[in-house]
């Protein structure tokens, strides 16, 4: 490989391109041939004797270093992506060591959200492993004087069968490193029959550390000379400090000083919220000092925001003609004819993430550079915001990614990391910012509150002859653009514009809504409220028609076909419709399969008990779920059983995938049972788990059975797609058990007694 080629690759890579093309090049990027290149942080993989990829290095002792570029928050991406590399390398998993990457664009997109770690990096990981295997084979073949084509690999060794010669990977590294990195075309990827790990999976690389308390989360990061900070933020978003008195705070033992943080300039994006920080010897002293602050706030324009009134506004908006985002036929003409019509209003409030680890970050600003240790889903966004906030180059921001104590989308938004960086610069020491649970609940980027108006004209067989659905919700884009009020295609696609029913007349609309809190993405995002409205409305129509909800749902899904998105702005989760077409047959298949697995229509349900069904595609995966509920005389709801079937294409780690769907059911149970953030005069009413309860062990499903469709289609998402159909199926089950229709979440306010 000539140096010219390498330089051109380098230029390409440093051009800020983070699309798939750059990733593929990144895999074969060979830093050893580039003199003078400096990285933000060299990894052991970079230093290894054989290092054909930014993701992979092999040392003479046979140790395989694999770099995890994506964050670990419990989905096992830190394990599962390296498994793909190890498989294609024919590496012994026991000799693999995983290193967590710092934020660095050379790894491609590191924003671990959107359920796309496997989908976006599957090819890149395979190529990284195959590249090293190719070079090891070349080295062995040369050593033995045989053609490379006669050599193959077994576990961690190259073999030449006819002469019965074997060489361990470690022993070959020096010789292999002298060979050029092969091109993509030269690589031979393993056939499925030879896969060791892909499709079989593995438990987390960190499993033992997780059960022994040795795992290091952001909360556990330490640095020499570090002080602790707790920040009193403006209670209303966009507010600022009018005046403050810290005399009493400074009297608290262990408190060093207070520091004012500037309010953000709208839009908020990932800027710190501003406020007064208390700096102390330990976390407790910082918390105590903060309680003694006396602050007068200027609450700003959002002080007029009340969530009760806003709910009515959203509902009114959803009743008025709005922006048409998809249209088939002429629904209005059908409605104008009169006849039987069914209408319903659905509502989902603001939701908080409430990851078990509150927001926390450790920052050290020294000699013009910032070093951070943070539980972040998005270390490159950390680099961006910290460089902006401190006025330093992005390359001078080193973001180490710790394990995350949950993320669910919240930790993609690094306002808390920027806060630590700003404080370290002001204090001149390493600062660890620790948010309380109250901070976490009150200063979240909430999943949008949403109102959905649904209307169907019904034919003689109870099937819709026309369908109108209209939503209104403050869009996520408002966090980045103060003028944004309409849903953007990225979020309207999430179960709204892609309603999969075979309908002759369909109109999908979206109305405007202004945000008064920070809106952000939360596990499955807009799919939650969209699937809730569509799948529960479907259940309503089935009952109105006197039909079995499963049969009716299948009838609406119709015959297998590929949805035509002509005239619709449909981003398809960033994937091409050629590689990932929207196939109703797959949705139909998971629906039929879950009916069979759950014994739909075959099980007897006693009084107060019932089942509900829902089906939904999100993050390119097709999922159908049946939920069984029991409601007693006190109105207490139990969930004895959940059955869920998913078609996520090729599933690399089935065990981890089952765990994701078990967890999604619990996450969905929290949404339905109790998830609600309300706002009074611009300030969040909830504060901790007593008023923002999440499902505890007895409130979670007792048993969730997960079935994975065997598929060779490209991999799709598994972290998020379990939530939306669970939410709708749970609500449909409550109707089956009690006759009470859930249209407003959460059910805590339904009054089931």
């Amino acid at each position: 490989m000539s140096s010219i080629e390498n330089v051109s690759r380098r230029k390409f890579l440093t051009g800020g391109v983070v699309v798939a093309g750059a990733l593929v090049l990144g895999v074969r990027y060979y830093p050893k041939l580039l003199s003078g290149t400096t990285f933000l942080r060299n990894t052991n993989a970079d230093h290894a004797k054989l290092n054909p990829s930014v993701y992979l290095g092999i040392d003479p002792d046979g140790t395989v270093w694999i770099v995890a570029g994506r964050s670990e928050m419990g989905t096992t991406s830190r394990t599962t992506l390296p498994l793909i590399v190890a498989d294609e390398l024919d590496a012994d998993w026991n000799r693999v060591k995983i290193e967590q990457a710092v934020g660095d664009k050379r790894y491609g997109d590191q924003n671990t959200d959107g359920s796309h770690s496997i989908r976006s990096f599957y090819d890149a990981m395979r190529e990284a492993g195959a590249t090293a295997r190719f070079m090891l084979i070349q080295a062995a073949a040369k050593q033995w004087g045989v053609p490379p084509a006669e050599c193959e690999t077994e576990l961690h060794v190259v073999v030449h069968r006819s002469t019965n010669r074997r060489a361990g990977y470690g022993d070959l590294t020096r010789a292999a490193a002298k060979f050029p990195v092969p091109t993509r075309e030269e690589l031979k990827l393993k056939p499925k029959s030879a896969w060791r790990y892909v499709g079989k999976g593995h438990v987390s690389y960190d499993l033992e550390a997780l059960v022994t308390g040795k795992a290091i989360y952001g909360m556990d990061a330490r640095a020499d000379g570090m002080v602790y900070a707790s920040v009193e933020h403006p209670p209303v978003i966009g507010g600022k400090v009018k005046s403050f008195d810290d005399k009493e705070a400074l009297k608290v033992a262990g408190v060093h000083q207070t520091v004012a943080i500037d309010p953000f300039q709208p839009p908020p994006a990932f800027q710190p919220l501003g406020g007064i920080a208390v700096i102390a010897d330990n976390t407790w002293a910082a918390f105590q000092g903060r309680k003694k602050l006396n602050i007068t706030w200027d609450n700003g324009p959002n002080e007029t925001y009340n969530s009760d009134a806003y709910k009515n506004e959203l509902r009114e908006t959803s009743h008025k003609p709005a922006k048409v985002v998809r249209n088939i036929g002429d629904a209005d003409a059908v409605f104008a004819k009169g006849g039987k019509v069914h209408e319903a209003d659905y509502y989902v409030p603001l939701l908080a993430h409430a990851s078990m680890e509150p927001m926390v970050a450790l920052a050290e600003f020294k000699d013009g550079k910032a070093t951070l240790w943070a539980p972040t889903q998005n270390p490159q966004a950390v680099q961006d915001i910290v460089s902006q906030q401190l006025g330093i180059a992005k390359e001078d921001v080193i973001c180490h990614v710790t394990l995350l104590g949950g993320g669910f989308g919240r930790k993609s938004k690094p306002d808390y990391v920027a806060e630590a960086a700003v404080l370290s610069k002001k204090v001149g020491r390493p600062v660890k910012v620790v948010w309380t649970r109250e901070d976490d609940i009150k200063f979240d980027y909430y999943n949008a509150v949403a109102a959905m108006y649904m209307k169907a004209a019904l034919g003689s067989n109870g099937k819709p002859t026309a369908w109108l659905q209209r939503s209104a919700f403050p869009p996520i884009t408002s966090t980045f653009d103060v003028n944004a009020v309409y849903g953007d295609p990225v979020h309207l696609q999430q179960g709204w514009t892609d309603i999969p029913y075979d309908l002759p007349n369909l109109r999908v609309e979206n109305g405007p809504a202004k945000a008064h809190v920070r809106i952000g993405w939360l596990r499955s995002v807009a799919n939650i409220y969209h699937a809730f409205a569509i799948q529960c409305f479907t259940d309503e129509l089935a009952h109105a028609a006197g039909r079995d909800p499963l049969d009716y749902l299948l009838d609406l899904i119709g015959e297998p076909r590929t949805i035509d998105f002509k005239g619709v702005e449909y981003p398809n989760y960033g994937a091409s419709l050629d590689a990932y077409p929207w196939e109703t047959g797959r949705l139909r298949h998971v629906t039929e399969m879950v009916a069979e697995k759950s014994g739909w229509g075959k099980r007897k349900h006693s009084k107060g008990s019932g089942v509900g069904i829902a089906a939904h595609r999100s993050f390119l995966s097709y999922v159908a779920t049946v939920v069984e509920v029991e409601v007693n005389d006190q109105g207490e709801v139990r969930i004895p059983r959940v059955d869920t079937v998913l078609d996520a294409g090729l599933v690399v780690n089935p065990e981890a995938t089952r765990a994701q769907f078990e967890g999604a059911a619990v996450f969905g149970a929290s949404v339905v049972r109790s998830g609600e953030i309300t706002v009074t005069k611009g300030a969040i009413d909830q504060s901790n788990f007593q008023d923002y309860p999440v499902a505890r062990i007895a409130e979670a499903p007792s048993q969730t059975n997960v079935y994975i469709v065997d598929s060779d289609t490209p991999p799709a998402g598994v972290g998020e797609p379990g939530v939306p159909p669970f939410v709708a199926a749970f609500c449909n089950a409550i109707f089956a058990a009690t006759g009470k229709r859930v249209r407003d979440l959460p059910i805590a306010k339904l009054g089931l007694t």
Binding site: V211, D220, A285, F287, Q288, P358, F408, N688, I697
Partner: protein
């Protein structure tokens, strides 16, 4: 001056006696296995054993630890893994793992008094421990597996 034992070792503490045990363990002793989740005893992530009983260290003031024996995850088993930890690995319970140390300490305390807990007894004993990733059904299975192992 407060004298206490942490994982068998004598310790003394002369700071703010109102400071919760959790922050003493984490910030003073540097034992970070016990986690901060809510600060008010609602989530169980900070669970440790005080004289063998499961307690929320985030609401246990240092003054109430005088003369007590504290066991944290760092000291739950001096030789290898505790049967509950082994069961947690066997059933592959953790997702993010942040709450799991607290869950394990709570489960170990349960099994020290109830050899074969029923589902209902498990649910009651574990009701104070939140897992936002939703690993509850595996927690239940792991407690049963550990119970079997320990008898």
């Amino acid at each position: 001056m407060i004298q206490l034992k942490v994982n068998g070792a004598d310790q003394s503490f002369s700071g703010d006696s109102e400071m919760p045990l959790l922050w003493y363990l984490r910030d003073v002793l540097g034992m970070t296995g016990s986690k901060f989740g809510c600060g008010v005893g609602l989530c169980g992530a900070c669970t440790v054993h005080v004289n063998g009983q499961a307690k929320r260290s985030c609401i246990t003031a240092m003054r109430d630890t005088a003369g007590k024996e504290i066991t944290t995850v760092e000291g739950i088993e001096m030789n290898g893994l505790h049967p509950v930890q082994k069961a947690w690995m066997q059933i592959n319970v953790p997702q993010c793992g942040y709450c799991q140390v607290g869950q394990i300490m709570q489960a170990a305390a349960l099994l020290s008094t109830k050899k074969n807990p029923t589902n209902q007894e498990i649910d009651e004993a574990m009701s104070g421990n939140i897992c936002r990733c939703g690993t509850y059904q595996r927690i239940r299975a792991a407690i049963k597996a550990a119970a079997e192992e320990m008898t």
